[in-house]
Assembly symmetry: C2
Homo-oligomer: 230 residues x 2
């Protein structure tokens, strides 16, 4: 069951991200989830860029919300970083066990990272840039939403290295969700979550993915500088 | 590829939800996604209740955030409604095509329903109950977040009945996300989304799922009334 399609593994995987971005989001663009998964799985892939400044109809055909990334695998094109990571995981025992029980454990935590934790961290992130830090009922409700989720994650991760019995696709997404929270110091009261994130960031595949994302946008700066000097 | 495990289909599926809930959330508890998927797939299942008022360690073992629902399938136990719906969909061509391309289309839209649309509707929902309707930058940012997602969904659904070429697991989750938005009149500017939701709510499997959820909690009221009268 859940046999992997070996033919598909041979197909060329293409990750599409923006061709350029301002400094601020670099290192935190969600293409890192896909890069990281591909690096962990040891699958060859190439990276393509689409314009950040003008998003055409073809962009919306691949990503209906006008965002990045998306993953192309032959005639299959997948937006949503969670779906793309799951697609890659289906090709590799490193990211997703092939037995039904192990598989379901990883998949439920992959959904939890997105729908239980990131669903709370996204509005919290929005509030980092609104209201000039003023206190309000809304801000408090959003803070409470995230705190509640992180407190439960402290319990979950207390006695283990990874969400399931070994590193998996679920950890890639959960850790990347934690990274954005940590960037705005939101993990300072959650040492177990923070140590878990640090443990994952030590993995060679993560370091390569991060360096590659930053290099990709740096390259774009250089390209622009050359064009400006002509 | 993606062969379904026929043995598992015979295993007894158990949906766990609260034993009782106040009136307000009834009809909108996320167990409806699982009920609906099971009804569409025509799979037999039973429903069990856990205490709403006191959540013990065993509850957190099944659902680490102290919520409902979860689905049990033999020795597999799955929280996260998205993961549970995907688990059910793996057992039925009605909800998830078996070819790689069709499968990936459904899975990406399932993630989009949760991580692109519900991620925006959840904070918007929180704001229905906070700040007494006062205007604030935070409220505006959260409103904009949801409006942007719904505008794109109008385009996506403009010329089709369902998210993919036929009704699927992705529609179950997207429609249930829309239902909560519509309850607070958030779809009034998005007629395509609203018609799509209405079309799905007309399905016999949805009607059965909704009636069953409401009946489940009604039953609990009756039980309580009998106990109170002793």
């Amino acid at each position: 069951m859940f046999a992997r399609d070996r033919k598909q593994e041979m197909a060329h995987l293409i990750l599409t991200t923006f061709d350029w971005l301002p400094e601020f989001p670099r290192g935190y663009v969600r293409d890192i989830r896909i890069r990281w998964a591909l690096e962990e799985a040891g699958l060859p892939y190439s990276v393509e860029g689409v314009p950040f400044k003008e998003r055409d109809a073809d962009h919306f055909k691949h990503q209906p919300f006008g965002q990045v990334p998306w993953l192309t695998d032959g005639d299959v094109t997948i937006f949503e970083s969670g779906a793309a990571v799951l697609h890659i995981a289906e090709k590799s025992d490193v990211l997703l066990p092939s037995d039904a029980k192990g598989r379901s454990e990883v998949i439920k935590w992959l959904f939890a990272a997105l729908n239980s934790v990131e669903a709370a961290s996204l509005p919290w992130f929005i509030f980092q840039f609104t209201g000039n830090g003023e206190e309000s009922d809304g801000r408090e409700a959003i803070n409470d939403f995230l705190s509640s989720r992180l407190s439960h994650m402290e319990d979950v991760l207390e006695s283990k290295d990874w969400l399931t019995d070994r590193f998996s696709a679920a950890d890639i997404v959960m850790v990347d969700v934690f990274r954005v929270i940590d960037r705005f110091d939101g993990l300072s009261n959650y040492p177990v979550c923070r140590n878990y994130m640090k443990r994952a960031e030590d993995r060679p595949a993560f370091k390569k993915a991060l360096a590659d994302q930053i290099g990709h946008f740096k390259q774009a700066d250089l390209r622009e500088a050359v064009m400006d000097s002509n």
